[in-house]
């Protein structure tokens, strides 16, 4: 993806960077729409939901739990649980965006879905390596990533609700592997030797245990916090 050498506007660069992810977004959004249609959602209504919320995992959970009429507080609570990982993501982004004007800051946070955050953190690291003196966060790049994913997600959810279950089970096409693959690419780029090894291993084990035994999105929170705790103690022993 970095084979193009001509300077581009960061917004366009963001759109190009996000492109491989659309392979995953298109069918998954279509599935979401198809499932929503089963619960009597119109195309417009599921598009409205995805545009207000823009957090895929919680949208699948909400549709899964949807009854007619929906149990309002229950679904809102599940949404919070599934999305509580954003709290940690926002915290990691904070030092990079706190200098922005409030309008840009609040816009950035509105679009902070997993994949958008992931690509933003990767770009921040990349920019920081190129010019250590400058702030690594590029708002235009971020918007390019965010808007292409946002528009795609919402549009294909709407189409999915309209065209229904033409796609069948996603797993047969392997497309569910798009997001894990992205995360693995970024993990490999973050690897810096033995300092990661122990926290990551602990995160993995705790996440699996929590996934098995606890409800909702706890596994992401507990997995992450346990890895951070290991990093805390590593510091003690290094000093």
């Amino acid at each position: 993806m970095s084979t193009i050498k001509t300077p581009q506007h960061p917004f366009v660069e963001g759109m190009i960077t996000a492109f491989p992810l659309l392979l995953g977004f298109v069918p998954v959004a279509f599935m979401l729409g198809a499932e929503a249609a089963q619960k009597d959602f119109s195309s417009v209504l599921i598009m409205f939901l995805t545009m207000v919320n823009f957090a895929g995992g919680s949208e699948f959970a909400a549709i899964e739990l949807w009854t007619s009429p929906p149990s309002v507080l229950f679904i809102i609570f599940v949404t919070f649980m599934v999305n509580s990982r954003h709290i940690i993501m926002g915290a990691t982004l904070a030092p990079h965006i706190k200098h922005l004007p409030k309008r840009k800051m609040l816009t950035t946070l509105f679009f902070m879905a997993d994949e958008v955050w992931a690509l933003a953190m990767q770009d921040i690291n990349k920019q920081h390596k190129l010019t250590p003196s400058k702030k690594g966060f590029r708002f235009d790049f971020y918007l390019g990533v965010a808007l292409s994913l946002y528009v795609t997600w919402s549009t294909f959810a709407g189409l999915g609700a309209y065209y229904g279950g033409m796609l069948g089970d996603l797993h047969q096409y392997g497309l569910h592997m798009a997001f894990p693959a992205l995360f693995i690419v970024i993990l490999v780029s973050m690897w810096n030797g033995k300092h990661n090894a122990l926290p990551w291993a602990v995160s993995a084990v705790v996440a699996m245990l929590a996934y098995q035994y606890l409800p909702g999105g706890w596994y992401v929170i507990l997995g992450t916090l346990s890895g951070m705790l290991v990093a805390y103690f590593q510091g003690e022993s290094d000093a």
């Binding site: 993806m1 995953g24 954003h86 592997m177 990093a231 805390y232």
Partner: protein, 99 residues
Amino acid sequence: MLDYATLLTILGMGMVTYFTRVFGFLLLRNKTLNDTQTRMMSIAPGCVFIAIIAPEFLTGTLGDILALCVTFIAALRLGMLGTIVIGITSAYGFNWLLS
């Protein structure tokens, strides 16, 4: 079928989701972190990814797990697009072979 409960649920979802996105930022906005805290925050993103992927090894099919391993090897060599394409095709291939 846009009834009151539906509208309220959707708006409520949007509100709590936005809250989760803003809250962590608000917590750390005015803090200067010391060395230990900086190390913890810099390890956090990787741990988030690990924590999201790890349960896949419990819930995925054998084909999915093999595909994750192939994807990992691909990620050592290839960029994002190449790795995602290999991830998808290997998941398709392994699940087809093993079904």
